[in-house]
Symmetry: C2
Subunit: 413 residues, 2 copies
Amino acid sequence: MARINENYRKLPAGYLFPEIGRRVAAFAKANPSAKIIRLGIGDVTLPLAPAVVEALRDAATESGTASGFHGYAPDQGYDFLIEAILEHDYRARGIALDADEIFVSDGSKQDSGNIQEIFGTECRIAVTDPVYPVYVDTNVMAGRTGGVDEKGRFAGITYLAGDEENGFVPPPPGVALDLVYLCSPNNPTGAVMTRTQLEAWVAWANARDAVLIFDAAYDAFVQDASLPRSIYEIEGAKRCAIEMRSYSKRAGFTGLRCAYTVVPKGVEGTTASGERVPLRALWARRQSTKFNGVPYVVQRAAAAVHTPEGRKQTGEQVAYYMENARSLRRGLSAAGFRCFGGENAPYLWMRTPGGLSSWACFDELLSEANVVCTPGSGFGSAGEGYVRLSAFNSRENVEAAIARIRKAFEGRA
Amino acid sequence: MARINENYRKLPAGYLFPEIGRRVAAFAKANPSAKIIRLGIGDVTLPLAPAVVEALRDAATESGTASGFHGYAPDQGYDFLIEAILEHDYRARGIALDADEIFVSDGSKQDSGNIQEIFGTECRIAVTDPVYPVYVDTNVMAGRTGGVDEKGRFAGITYLAGDEENGFVPPPPGVALDLVYLCSPNNPTGAVMTRTQLEAWVAWANARDAVLIFDAAYDAFVQDASLPRSIYEIEGAKRCAIEMRSYSKRAGFTGLRCAYTVVPKGVEGTTASGERVPLRALWARRQSTKFNGVPYVVQRAAAAVHTPEGRKQTGEQVAYYMENARSLRRGLSAAGFRCFGGENAPYLWMRTPGGLSSWACFDELLSEANVVCTPGSGFGSAGEGYVRLSAFNSRENVEAAIARIRKAFEGRA
């Protein structure tokens, strides 16, 4: 008899987004004439930039020629892409990294889900709350937790609550921890950690020999030049932090799939006997055994994001979404809704009106305004009483959504 | 202190192919004028077929338009690709499967490495030997094994030796097992399981409630119409078998990345309390949590493989490689080398001349014939005394390699 991994049974029945999909599909079926505006799932809507399309097409053509065909890609990614990353994402901000510290992958979801594999099951994990569900679910699947309580919290994970008082950026805690997932700009709250806040986390991690998993998938949306976009802008971070970045949101790659993870050589874990081991070697082994590279054509497309035209075109896309975010925040705040985020991130984090639960607000927004949000409680118990609105949509839809939400909740915001 | 996953330390220092790469690079550096022919790593060499290139280019262009842009792909793959798979890979051979039993992915390496995650750590695993290293290494990483012995075998894994006596197809064993990895056409031996042999495995698995992981990544290379290409051609397999297929070798997708895994609803595992659970639901959960889909442009390219032009063009590629395989087998057998495979698979499995060890033969082939092979011992201890030669190269290189190998070992084969 093949025994199953029973840790899977600890997870709630559905991943958050499929559940939203089911409710929206049911509503759409019952109300076929409703013009639903989707500000729920964080998927981009603008087409791929011309520079990206051209690079994709050229690489496709090249792949059809004897001299231009590319088989298996190098384990960690092509030099042309890694060099572009080092130059534009790091050296341009004064950060020196080595090429072999960059691991090109097919997504930050995969990387942030897989990274736990290189750690022992006894590692004490912490997440901020609310949080991207993948960090938690993958640790549950790996058996690092006990069961789930009625609030949706798993035994064995430390939850660091973000709230209005701490600006949704929980400070380092007093308890002993080994591995902490941080996300800035934050999904779902849109909060961005300041330099001082990040310095506190890096100092805390180095003092305790803990590792920080820093998910910077939304770094391109930071507007305030004083805010850090990489954790390596902080002194000492190359001794304690693994950073993840993605082309998904910055360049519309959600359907094209390219991201990367940085594992500096100075970040170490320990064996039971106390021997120190560079995590880079473990991640390299993990990737060379379980991954087979990002398509050549996609790596060419990603490299095009770093060209002058690519930077200009994808910068305009980011600016478009950020104008949406500002409209959402301005329009809903003016109507009395209590809103956070949306200034350096493509997400608006809104307190539900009248003390509604997150799912009740979701249902009412869907039925009354025909607008899809994401219930904050789907990101953890500290997200209860909030909803997330995404700026990834057309200007017209965002403006229409603002008007509809204001109307649906008139006098109640 | 972040404790590492110490199971990684049980693995030998290098994955097989990087070690080959190091030796070849060192030889090339010391002998810059040597014209090295690479028949080692199983990477394709022909450019992408015109129908595939055209589909890729069209999808790229489409992705640059507002109406044709595609963001996150459906979890299990686009309907257009799943339908093409069901029609051409299954219904055409009399096999009925449901669309939700197909999981499109970015590679059989990933799928065959990840599949163990949905099983309990107590599962008793078996592999044939020699074997594709990923099956073993990923179970080692997951903690299902003890340490490794001097022959490279891990405690806790059952090795079923393939040898000349059983035609490199070990029969089902008498011992109790829960999960068995089978690969046909086989990498590395090129052996293909007959209908009778597969029937014995399926009957054995169903009688014991075991699960078979059937890796059919090389099915397109089967020439003999009487040999099964899918395990689902065998009655009862939909109750015990998970099948993996790939576009990598059949259509030159090693650098484009597309594959799929079939998990029929009837294949079940059990909990500690004896409850039966469909593995399909667990794999769906695994993929929706840790994977984010294959690029739209790549799925379009894969679908083009199933069009009349795509089938004709990729069929010609397969025929080209199989002509290479036949030449290898004919040319080397005629010179006295003892050869297997190469008739329904793109790999030739050759006994080393004069009782050389696999690595000694590798080194001599490299230094004397400037031909790169893969040492059989890299696939397991039962592979010692053999080398694998790949048919993925140009006709000229294959013919030259045959002549050089014959010359280098003249009088010793």
